[in-house]
């Protein structure tokens, strides 16, 4: 029997989706609905991919205050954008086939995840070393990106910059189909791995003792995380703390770390915050503020609170 708290979260998520689709309908209803449906699809994917990637990443690293962006994945994405603008110019960049570009970006991100992993897979995966490598790569890519930003001309810079900030009003719908397939496949894999994730959360030794091929499993899960990060970053740009906020709330609502509960709970929470928040900002507040900023602010606060609570324990 599904848990009552999970059902409540699910119901709230559906209410948010319904509100997003129906509030303030007017004019050409067919046109408005199809426009909203496209954006909704993108928002749902972002919710799902961020929720799942953060849960899996936290489980693998056995750390509650990490998000995949610490591995430098979104920094690499932004560097890739800037590099393309640098090489092709603003016009050439805009003329690129979006599906092709997105495919390339996903491969690049997965490649980096493996590149970081392979040296450490030879031995038993040392999580601390890997995360450190991730942080350093993140700084490297951010620095390279700002170096390139100083080299391109201002018009081209504007093109690249629009890709570098989280923006929920202007989601990239051109890569939607490709992203949908990727998200769906990743979500199915994550759901099927829910029991495995429970075991992985016990740490390398216990998981090995229970028959998990540790290095291979962790590599696979990190590939999954990086493809999910690629989806959300490509659709709306980099978001650092949203995942943290979502997982922290979901974990408190369902009060368990079992993945059969936590994975759907986190996904629902993400939908509630993202779709509900977007509805609120569009209709309630008349677009007077930016959801991205508010979410990052709240997420940052959640990060500090978790740090504070963690240090007291």
């Amino acid at each position: 029997m599904p848990d009552r708290r999970l059902l409540c979260l699910g119901a709230a998520a559906i209410v948010c989706i319904a509100a997003y689709m129906t509030i303030g309908l007017g004019g050409n209803i067919g046109f408005v609905l199809s426009l909203r449906a496209t954006k909704l699809a993108a928002l749902l994917q972002v919710s799902l991919s961020i929720a799942l990637s953060t849960v899996i990443f936290q489980t693998v690293t056995n750390n509650r205050i990490l998000t995949p962006s610490i591995m430098g994945l979104d920094a690499l994405y932004l560097f890739g954008q800037m590099l393309l603008v640098f090489l092709l110019g603003g016009l050439g960049y805009s003329a690129l086939d979006p599906q092709l570009k997105f495919g390339g970006e996903v491969m690049l991100l997965m490649g980096l995840a493996i590149g970081l992993l392979l040296p450490m897979l030879r031995r038993r995966t040392d999580m601390g070393l890997m995360l450190l490598a991730g942080v350093i790569f993140g700084v490297l890519f951010r620095s390279l990106q700002s170096l390139l930003a100083r080299l391109v001309d201002p018009n081209d810079f504007a093109v690249a910059q629009s890709a570098s900030f989280a923006n929920f009003n202007d989601v990239r719908t051109d890569v939607l189909i490709f992203a949908t397939i990727l998200t769906a496949v990743a979500a199915v894999i994550a759901w099927r791995a829910r029991h495995l994730l429970d075991i992985v959360a016990l740490g390398a030794d216990s998981a090995t003792g229970l028959g998990v091929a540790w290095a291979r499993t962790v590599a696979g899960l990190l590939l999954l995380v990086s493809s999910l990060v690629a989806v959300s970053t490509a659709l709306v740009g980099p978001i650092a703390f949203f995942g943290l906020l979502v997982v922290a709330i979901a974990e408190r609502v369902v009060d368990t770390r079992r993945h059969s509960m936590l994975l759907p709970a986190a996904a629902f929470t993400a939908v509630i915050i993202l779709v509900g928040g977007q509805t609120l900002f569009q209709h309630g507040l008349g677009n007077s503020s930016t959801l991205g900023v508010v979410i990052e602010f709240a997420g940052g606060l959640a990060f500090l609170i978790l740090l504070f609570l963690g240090s007291r324990r």
Binding site: R124, D198, I199, A204, D205, G211
Partner: protein, 252 residues
């Protein structure tokens, strides 16, 4: 049978184990004793493939531990480490249920539930089954971890200092439970112990290690002599035989 052949281990340039060879036949309790840093835990984690083998060979029931799929090994051998991480927000019953993972990959059948109930009962955890792990005392948590290893239902059970944090009552209960499954179900238990008298009373065989080498090996009655104990631990102690069991007086 667990067969360890010419196994050596180094951490960087520090040698941990020197050319260890050891056969542990099926059935019975084998206790590993020795001072801190003797390499007992390292040997145990090599047998349980938690560390990669550097030199030598280890096989369990003829399956080499370095090439047999991990999943298959998990049905033959279970290990409890000293420093097992326990994730928070996890109930005792869920943790013990994880022991069944190698069998159903997380899907619990009625048979699994029965085994979980049995393990909970065996370690007096039935009343605690619904509690969160982090609300338990160190000893209760230790019992839950042992129960998880039990629930795995393997023929071989490796336990690294399972008596840590246990009070006298539960230390005795645990050793008696181990004795019971060794005698009744023909399980093979390899256990690292620091309490020499627990080893003397409950083990069939004691293997003593020091500085990465096996320096004595035999049944308690042969091994627990003042001379051998002095060689192992570096100080003299009295050994008295009470009801036919050698008791080591090592406190003064």
């Amino acid at each position: 049978m667990i067969r360890v052949e010419k196994v050596s281990l180094k951490h960087g340039s520090t040698p941990i184990l020197h050319d260890i060879s050891l056969d542990i036949p099926k059935g019975g309790i084998t206790a590993l004793i020795g001072p801190n840093g003797a390499g007992k835990s390292s040997l145990l984690s090599l047998i349980a493939r938690l560390q990669p083998l550097q030199t030598g060979k280890i096989s369990i029931e003829g399956y080499p531990v370095d090439t047999t799929p991990n999943r298959d090994l998990a049905k033959i051998i279970a290990i409890l480490r000293q420093d097992s991480i326990v994730t928070s927000r996890l109930r005792v019953r869920e943790l013990v249920g994880f022991g069944r993972f190698p069998h159903g990959r997380g899907r619990l059948t009625e048979e699994d539930q029965r085994i979980i109930d049995q393990s909970l009962q065996q370690f007096d955890l039935t009343d605690l089954a619904g509690r969160f792990i982090e609300t338990l005392s160190g000893g209760q948590r230790q019992r839950a971890l042992v129960a998880m290893a039990f629930a795995q239902g393997t023929d071989y059970l490796l336990l690294d200092e399972p008596l840590n944090n246990l009070d006298m009552y539960f230390a005795r209960e645990l050793m008696r439970s181990l004795r019971k499954i060794a005698d009744g179900k023909g399980k093979t238990v390899v256990i690292v112990l620091h309490d020499i008298n627990q080893a003397g009373v409950y083990a069939d065989r004691i293997v003593a290690m020091k500085s990465g080498r096996i320096i004595a090996d035999g049944p308690p009655s042969e091994l627990l002599t003042p001379e051998t104990l002095h060689a192992i631990f570096g100080f003299g102690m009295r050994v008295e035989t009470i009801d036919g069991i050698p008791i080591v007086v090592h406190l003064r």
